[in-house]
Structure formats: structure tokens, C-alpha cells
Symmetry: C2
Subunit: 350 residues, 2 copies
């Protein structure tokens, strides 16, 4: 077979370019001689681009990105406290703008404790769950503002917006996923305090649950969910939650399962109207950038999610297996970013 996939690559800032190089290396390895050709366009976006040109994401960038089949992103964000960036908001203007404009309403974040991965828990058990984080609503919509800014009378508000349309579609995606997995779905929210947002989530989970009688459903307040993530993470299969709670839970989940250096994610538009975007959960870590210290595994596992999304399931499985084998053989010896990428690429081809 022969297939051309148009891939937009956004290496970004900090360790982004380093980890993306390794992800590309592994992508090349898994497609070598397969007839699948990834036609890549590299986009220079992030704090670096902003400092050079003043642009965060132009309309032309966005249109060009839209014309691709999928997106691979490293990490974006400059050095914290860099005064030249004080009026830039790379996160909102670039990363969140892409998620919103490309309608990435399913933010898929698997957490798995791979054999051999070091983690902070004494007895984690068999951890393998996926957080389905809503990606286009909630407290992330940017519907906030302030009056009397900078004065003792300032009032600053943020509004979380939750629509039945937006909640139902992500809840449906979560149930469909749970149905293909261990058939357990946990809604995480804070219904006792955020009563209106909580009620719409609860209602739509109950409604969709009726169509999936084989899926066991439970509910946890977000505070209680963090407790279970450290005392019994093995209890989870699929977690569905809003944009902000999902942000918090997935960093914690990453830490619990061997560190954010292994945590992959996909920003998915299930309707395939727009390209989906795959990125490690970690940030740009400017403090270690360019030093070959970053672990590219999260970027490589994100590539597996990308392959899977494109229907290249065999290739996705090979990448995942290669990364898992590499993790299982880690002995604490120091390896550079590209040595880890080389090792996983070699296993992919073995």
C-alpha cells in the first residue's frame, strides 16, 4: 500500500525541538519501507517566534496547519519571568487557540504504569487508565475580565461555560472508549459546589449511561479523586472530566505513573473536520533545554497515539511496544535524549 500523510510539526520552545526530533526519528523508523509517507511541514511557533516576529499564531499559520492530516507538537512557552514575554500569552494565544480553533474536544490522556518505570508510590498496583478531558469549554474559554485593575477595588472574574452540546459529545467519546476497555467510567467534578456546571455533567453522564448498560459508572468529587490517584490508582479505567479538572488530574496521573516524561496526549477532533494534535503532557522546561537531558518518551508515545488516530494501528502498536521495552530495560544509567530516541527507533525496527 501507499499512503501520504500530511503532518504539521510544531517543535516549539525549550526541550520541544529535542523531543520532537526523536519522535520524528521513531516515526521514520516505523514507516520505513512501508509505503506510508509522512510529508512534514515544520512550523516555527512559540515564544521563540514571538520574540523574533511578534506573532503568536497568524491566520495564515492557522489556515496552513488546518490543511494537514495531523499535528505533532513538542512544547511551547518561554523562560518564566522573561520580561519580553510579559504581554505574550503563548499558552492561550497558541496552544489553547489551536485546541479551540481545531475543535479538539477530546483531550485523551492515557496513564499506564509501565513495568520498570520508577514512580513515587510505594505500592501503586496495576495502573492503566485514560483521562478523557474536555478540551473546548469549562474555565478555559477565556470568558473572564477585571474591573479597576491594579487598584484595591479590583474585581477579577473567570467564567466556566458548559454546554449540553459540548459536554454530551465528550461524554459519548468517553463511554465509547470505556466500552472498548474495562467498562468502567468515572465522572470527576465538584457537583456539590459548582452546582450548575456539575448538574449538566451529571445529567449527560446519566443520559448516555443508559445507552451503555455494560459500563459501570461512578462519580468522584475532584478532591477525592486526587486521593484515589495516590492511594489506589488501579481503581480507574476511564475518567471523564472538564477542562480544568482534567488538566490537574493528568499531571498528577503522570507523576504517579513514572513521571511526566512518559505522559502522552492527543488533542482530538473525533469528527475529523480538523486535524488532531498530539503532544507530550510536559512543558517546554527551558531550564534544561538544549542539553539533551529531556526524556523523549512522552513525545514518542504521543506519536503512537497519532498513528492510532490515523488508523495505522499496527504501526502504533510497534511504537508503543518499543517504548515499553525500552522503559523495562532502563537501569538508571544516564542516556541523552537522542540515545533514548535511537534505542526506541532500533527496537521499532527489530
Amino acid at each position: 500500500m501507499s499512503r501520504v500523510v500530511k503532518l504539521a510539526v510544531i517543535p516549539g520552545d525549550g526541550i520541544g525541538p529535542e523531543v520532537i526530533s526523536e519522535a520524528e526519528k521513531v516515526l521514520d523508523a516505523v514507516t520505513a519501507g512501508s509505503g506510508i509517507h509522512f510529508e512534514k511541514t515544520h512550523f516555527s511557533l512559540g515564544a521563540g517566534r514571538f520574540l523574533e516576529t511578534g506573532d503568536t499564531l497568524t491566520d495564515a499559520d492557522l489556515e496552513s496547519i488546518k490543511s494537514h492530516d495531523a499535528i505533532m507538537l513538542g512544547a511551547v512557552g518561554g523562560v518564566p519571568g522573561d520580561a519580553r514575554l510579559k504581554d505574550a500569552n503563548i499558552e492561550r494565544g497558541l496552544l489553547l487557540k489551536l485546541r479551540f480553533e481545531l475543535d479538539h474536544y477530546v483531550n485523551l490522556r492515557p496513564s499506564k504504569l509501565y513495568p520498570g518505570a520508577p514512580g513515587p508510590l510505594a505500592a501503586p498496583g496495576d495502573v492503566d487508565f485514560v483521562v478523557v478531558r474536555e478540551g473546548t469549554e469549562g474555565p478555559y474559554v477565556g470568558n473572564g475580565g477585571a474591573i479597576r485593575r491594579g487598584t484595591p477595588q479590583e474585581v477579577a472574574n473567570e467564567t466556566s461555560v458548559n454546554t449540553a452540546f459540548g459536554v454530551e459529545r465528550v461524554v459519548r467519546a468517553a463511554f465509547a472508549l470505556a466500552d472498548r476497555r474495562r467498562r468502567k467510567l468515572t465522572l470527576v467534578h465538584k457537583t456539590n459546589v459548582l452546582v450548575h456546571a456539575g448538574a449538566i455533567w451529571k445529567r449527560l453522564v446519566d443520559e448516555v449511561a443508559a445507552e451503555y448498560p455494560a459500563v459501570a459508572v461512578d462519580y468522584l468529587h475532584v478532591d477525592a479523586a486526587t486521593i484515589f490517584l495516590v492511594t489506589n490508582p488501579a481503581r480507574f479505567d476511564v475518567i471523564v472530566t472538564d477542562n480544568l479538572f482534567g488538566d490537574i488530574l493528568t499531571d498528577l496521573a503522570g507523576a504517579v505513573t513514572g513521571g511526566i516524561g512518559l505522559a502522552a496526549s492527543g488533542n482530538i477532533n473525533p469528527d475529523r473536520v480538523f486535524p488532531s494534535m498530539f503532544e507530550p503532557v510536559h512543558g517546554s522546561a527551558p531550564d534544561i533545554a538544549g542539553q539533551q537531558k529531556a526524556d523523549p518518551t512522552a513525545a514518542i508515545l504521543s506519536t503512537a497515539l497519532l498513528l492510532d488516530h490515523l488508523g495505522l494501528t499496527a504501526e502504533a502498536a510497534r511504537v508503543t511496544r518499543a517504548a515499553e521495552e525500552d522503559i523495562a530495560h532502563r537501569d538508571g544509567a544516564h542516556r541523552t535524549t537522542s540515545q533514548i530516541g535511537d534505542a526506541i527507533a532500533a527496537r521499532v525496527q527489530a
Copy 2:
């Protein structure tokens, strides 16, 4: 000396009455023969009261509670899913109403890994920090609503309200506390996404920091903070954060430091216009209620915070030390709620 303290006691629901009995036992033990007399009024409030009378918190209850010097609360909340409670919101109508009406703007939640306490972390290090959670603003204000409720066109919003007045006073309390401790303060927020709420918190921390040059200040996004809470909780001294992030972080902190059965809290009105309220962080746990299975240590340690707030520092220290000694001598043998209370009361008197 002779002193009378008027104490309002709200045992509440589930395990609340059991743990409060033990806290009262310890309070009696520490004040025995001291000339300090706690004059207690018991209030029947919570899901139980609602089911009997339909009342959550009447104006008369509230006025009567206000006439006390301090409040001790067990836990409130009925059996999840109890249809008779579906129109009640005990959390908002009682617990949060007390916090808001009594202007408990400092929600003080210490986390300490006591020697001997079992925790989920393999190598926690020396953990001893306090979360200063804002208690009267943020996403907890109840400024939400929904339109087209129950339909496919529903939109449900929640607004987080943050005022300079409200943020500054809690930030001041946090700096004053850090100055009496290890002089490290960490602001936790999500400034890159919640830009308006984030900016007011950041501004006021920066402003008050100028008055405390000896206090080292840093900032973490809430997602990153959860990572450090499991990988390096020893890095924290004082954390200051908003109402919702504080709710999430303190449950996680409780889990990390030996479980929510040890986590104490104070809802404090530093201006002493209204009585402050002390309660364990845990909930009413109706599933184990009345079985003498609950650990009363969190309620007892909350009593130590109460004593401290009343200026009874020697008594507070005796209670804390007794609880710490009890924790250090735990050997996994089963003890009932009242056996633990007896043991701590005995140590207080030894």
C-alpha cells in the same frame, strides 16, 4: 486563672458525631483542673436535621452560633444518592454558608508527615507545610446559573469572583504565617489560563512580598503543584491559593501525609469579628458511620488548632504532642474510634 469559652459544637452526620465525641473527650482532658471551662452548645445540623425538619441552617441557628467564641464541626452530608436529599445541598446550605457568613477567609490546612504515619509515597522526605486556602471567594461564591436546563441547548455557567480586598487579606495572613515558619511561600494558581483571576493573585502576592523581604516566594501552576506534592512534598512551607485549588491540594496533601484521617483544618476569621470553625478535612463517610471505624485524630488535631486560635498555646501543644505520640506508636492493631480517643486523652493527661 479562670476562663469561660463558649463553644458551639456541630457533630453533623455520618462519622461526625463519633469523631467529635473523641475531640470533646480530649478537650475535657486537656482543660481538666486548669480553670478553663468550655461551655458547650450542641447544634443538630446536617442531613439528619434536614430530613427531620426540612431546615438546613435557619437564621436563628446562625445567630446563636455567632454568639459563641469558636465552633467545632464534625462532618456534614447524607448518604450519596439518598433521594430525599436531592433538593438539599447540605454542603452549600450549611458548611459553605457558615464559612461565608462567618467570613472565614483563611482556611488553614496543615500537612505534616508524623513519624510512624503510613503514607502512599515510597520516599516522602520531611513533610511539614500549611496550605492557606482562601475561604470566601473564587469559584465557591455560587455565582452560577443555567439556561434551557435539561435540554440539548442547556448552557451552565459558574463564575469565579476574586477581589483585591479578598485576595490581599488572605495573602497577608499567608505571609505572616510563613514569616513565623521556614519563610517560604508558594503561590499556586493557573495564571496562564485563568489570566484575570491569576493576575490579581500574582499582583497581590508581589505587592505583599515587598513587605517581607526575608520570605522566599515562588509560583507554581496548580497542575505542576500536584506533581511536586507526590514527588517532593518536602519542598513546601506555606502554600497560598484560591478556594477551589486549595480544596483539591489539601485532599491530596492529606493523602500524601498518611491519609485524610489525620488532616485537620481551621476556618478562620482572623479579625475575630465572628467565631472561627475547626473541622477535620474528611467528610461524613456514611458507609462506616456508627461502626467505631473512623479515626478521630483529624478531629482531635483540629481541636489543637482551635486551642491555638484561642491563645491556649500550651494546651494546643499538649494535644498535638499526644496525637503525635499516639501516631508514632501505632502498630496496625485495630482500635475503635473511642479507643484512639481514650489513648490520646490519656497521653494528654500523662
